[in-house]
């Protein structure tokens, strides 16, 4: 009996080790191949200049337009999704605490929306644009991407808020707090690190998605100066360069990927630092 237990223990240990190694290796290979191909092509020119004539045929220029476009798009849409999503997450966890069935339905619908492919959001955004007679623009892209990441950010914040012990809610109610005071003072402070992580998750999805912005944001070689102008984005810049028959242009796509990864990394680090800074007041129940 003892021996069987030992074998079982070892079996699961090996299983977990293999799974971890598999994921770790996959991640490493992806990063390595991107950096190996991309780094030699990464230059100041690429970061700081817009495409010159013939850039997509291997001539000079850079993808500054796509970097700026992507940052505008993902910051704008994650900000809108945050401002709309936070009240939703608070509402279903505090104000609707009595209505457990209703909340279960809301969660189910949000999970469904989470699973809808981003190209569907792109098509939906495009239909709306046509209806209002809008052209492809940064604004249309921001709105479409906000819709696309909204279920993600709401459910991520929802999971954090759900873990707040009921005792904290009851204690706060007993002090005579209103639901909104509990939401935006007590729960907000208790969950701030988790809320930042939820925002980061949404930001990552926003900056990495190509399908939802294909028809809505469009593509241009210029840096957008207004919300009604089309904008270039990194995922599409990668896509266009990768589809080129010229090897050098394809390799530049890897450099663009490296830039995208670096932006996500920077944002992650900053938000982790912020998360730790605001973690000190959190009560560990």
């Amino acid at each position: 009996m003892r021996k069987i237990l030992k074998i079982e223990e070892r079996f699961y240990r090996v299983l977990m080790f293999l799974a971890t190694t598999f994921i770790g290796t996959a991640l490493f290979v992806i990063l390595f191949s991107i950096l190996r191909t991309g780094l030699p092509h990464l230059s100041w020119e690429m970061l700081s200049e817009i495409p010159h004539g013939g850039y997509y045929f291997g001539k000079s220029g850079g993808i500054f337009n796509a970097i700026v476009g992507s940052v505008y798009l993902s910051l704008g849409s994650s900000l809108i999704a945050f401002l709309v999503g936070l009240p939703i997450a608070m509402f279903i966890n505090i104000h609707l605490i009595r209505h457990t069935k209703f909340v279960a339905v809301i969660r189910f619908l949000l999970d469904l929306l989470w699973g809808v492919p981003s190209i569907v959001y792109g098509a939906f955004g495009f239909t709306i644009m046509v209806f209002f007679g809008m052209r492809t623009s940064l604004m249309a892209g921001i709105i479409t991407v906000s819709l696309f990441i909204l279920p993600i950010i709401v459910r991520a914040m929802d999971e954090v808020l759900r873990n707040v012990p009921k005792g904290l809610l009851e204690s706060s109610l007993s002090l005579g707090s209103t639901n909104s005071e509990i939401a935006y003072v007590v729960y907000f402070k208790q969950c701030l690190p988790g809320i930042i992580t939820a925002w980061l998750l949404a930001f990552g999805r926003a900056i990495g998605d190509a399908a939802s912005i294909l028809f809505t944001t469009g593509y241009t070689d210029y840096v957008p100066h207004a919300l009604n102008e089309p904008a270039a984005t990194l995922p599409l810049a990668i896509f266009f360069q990768l589809s080129s028959p010229i090897p050098e242009v394809r390799e530049r796509a890897y450099a663009a990927s490296a830039i995208l990864i670096f932006i996500v990394l920077t944002v992650s680090v900053i938000s982790r630092i912020l998360g730790c800074k605001y973690n000190k007041n959190k009560i560990n129940f």
Partner: protein, 252 residues
Amino acid sequence: MHNSVIDIEHLNLYYGKQHILKDINISIPAKKITVILGPSGCGKTTLLRSLNRLTELDASVKMSGKIFLNGQDLLSSKEDVTTIRKKMGLLAQRPYPLPMSIYNNVAYGLRISGRRKKKFLNNRVEYYLRQTNLWEEVKDRLKEPAATLSIGQQQRLCLARGLAVDPQIILADEPTSALDPHSSRMIEEKFAELKSNYTIVLVTHILRQARNIADHVIFMYMGQVVEQADARDFFDNPQEQQTKAYLQGQFY
């Protein structure tokens, strides 16, 4: 006999189809410590929570009957539930400090009542921390998070925070169950002092604690009030068979 603050008449509480509280009729005397005693699962915590209407957080709970606070029925009252809750401070089974600094924990209740003057807040925070014997321990680290305090200190902070709202009644739900003996005794001693200004309702299953500090005892079993009496009568001369059995330790 007593000058009562809370009078409960024919209170019934159902959780779904379960009948949790069965025809409760009690009165709670003013400025005394009333202990609700009974084995676990007898409904004593539910009774306490129904007083400040925390039971309403669960949609499957149905209540009927009357709970009078100073002669006003809480269950049919049009008054805002937050106003009612402000009149009753709650001390839970384990401390739930707010996720903010020690100072802000006490100031929170004052701030949400619209008192924001810095000097006033400083003054009050010190006063309530002194009331709960915390001031000397925390006066140099008021800006630190409440999470850095020990569990016993956190529970006293929760008491200070509750007192700062200036309630009439303190509801305590086994407030010492998570605490070490020293902190428990401190809370008990504090209650004995506080009863000159507050009405205290304490739920406990610790017979020793009840004997120590109770003025009035309500004994519950299986959702019903078996006996209620002055502490001396209750312990020295119990009337009901179940009470006698419980006091002799025949069931817990």
